[in-house]
Symmetry: C2
Subunit: 149 residues, 2 copies
């Protein structure tokens, strides 16, 4: 964890940047915080530690992490971007449109089929996004918990 922060710092310096307190705090909180976080959520979390961090810095830091491939930018269509650590392996998402819960899954067979589809179209894929929207177990219509409206 500390070594991760060091590694990132190093990379920033290599790019011609300088270390900074606020940014380091944002990065640390980002990797400790629950995933699929919005900038607003992350800003609040950071401010618990350092009240004076501006949201502009959070926006900047999260974009920087995405540029360095340490974070992934997500968009579940609700009007604000979310971010997740990019340290874990690639995965796709199930998004509950009732409670907003996000579940992750891996399905190598889907990945393979995507490669095939791309190849069939002479297309060189660099990334993809597969989001499945619907209702999670708790919010499912007809579920016992929801029987009485």
């Amino acid at each position: 964890m500390d070594s991760l922060l060091q590694r990132i710092d190093q990379e920033i310096v290599a790019i011609g940047g300088k270390r900074s307190r606020s940014r380091a705090q944002v990065i640390e909180v980002f990797f400790r915080t629950g995933t699929h976080v919005t900038v607003e959520e992350l800003t609040h979390a950071v401010r618990k530690r350092n009240r004076s961090v501006g949201s502009a810095t959070v926006y900047r830091t999260v974009k920087l992490l995405a540029r360095l491939d340490y974070a992934k930018e997500l968009d579940f269509g609700d009007g604000l971007k979310r971010y997740e650590s990019n340290l874990e392996a690639h995965h796709d998402h199930l998004v509950c449109q009732e409670c907003g819960a996000v579940f992750e899954f891996k399905e190598p067979r889907i990945e393979t089929l995507q490669e095939q589809v791309a190849k069939q179209h002479g297309f060189f894929p660099t990334m993809h996004r597969l989001d499945i929207y619907g209702y999670c177990r708790k919010c499912a219509p007809g579920d016992k918990r929801n029987r009485d409206k």
Copy 2:
């Protein structure tokens, strides 16, 4: 085509709406125009026929079509929404991040696997979005056409 417009008009009336010239023009141009269109593009196309149509009406109409399930709202992550006819069967997209071209594909095996994944998670899917980003044939790095940077 005319029958489509009539059918939509009928549905709007059933919802408690009235017919209107501007809206009818937007709808007709929408179904004649190339797909994956932005509101700005659609507004320009409509104004070739009727200079006085306001973009607010185009926004409203396209949202209405989406609500009535005649149109689908798309978001390829470039900051503006796109719309396509929802008369054709479901399909997913290949998006070139160089030239912006969009290609469509159907892969029933992917659809099936998605159902399975959802079921495994006790999730009731209502829709999904699969976008593959990369470089199309023309924009592919290493392509003859791009050999000289």
